[in-house]
Symmetry: C2
Subunit: 98 residues, 2 copies
Amino acid sequence: MSDENTGSTGEIQLDNGVFRVTRWTIQPNGVIPMHKHEYEYVVIPMVTDAMHVRNSDGTSIVADLEAGVSYTRAAGSEHEVSNPDGTDDIVFVEVERL
Amino acid sequence: MSDENTGSTGEIQLDNGVFRVTRWTIQPNGVIPMHKHEYEYVVIPMVTDAMHVRNSDGTSIVADLEAGVSYTRAAGSEHEVSNPDGTDDIVFVEVERL
């Protein structure tokens, strides 16, 4: 999944019925558009950077990513994530528990 | 879990009954001693390097890790992993599906 319009790329590395693993890249000023997570998941940042998260309820946060420091989110999370002030790509690996 | 004798460190970042996420660091000439995996898991390398894997059946391979390129292994895998020729730490994040 690569989308010049959004400036983000999702490369599925594994989808075996147990895990789905996607490596996401958000270019400077890119966005992964609003989406809802069907499965509980873990994010492993590959970079240390600030990623902007706008939730479907309108609230926003800045997620301070740290390379190698994971975090988890529940199924049902619905948000858009972006790299508005970025000078570098934001890259993270998402592991979903199918 | 940090062990000066083995030269490896396992930092559990999450253990919530759904996932267990551990960040492993193997120093140059360090080893994570022989262990058996109870759960299916995914590895996300944080570095690009060669990691030596000795299986419990005596076979050995060199796993060419690439930063951000994940791989999965089945429950029951039993091996020792080491960094024998290393000049740098080998670091990876392991996500187990509990």
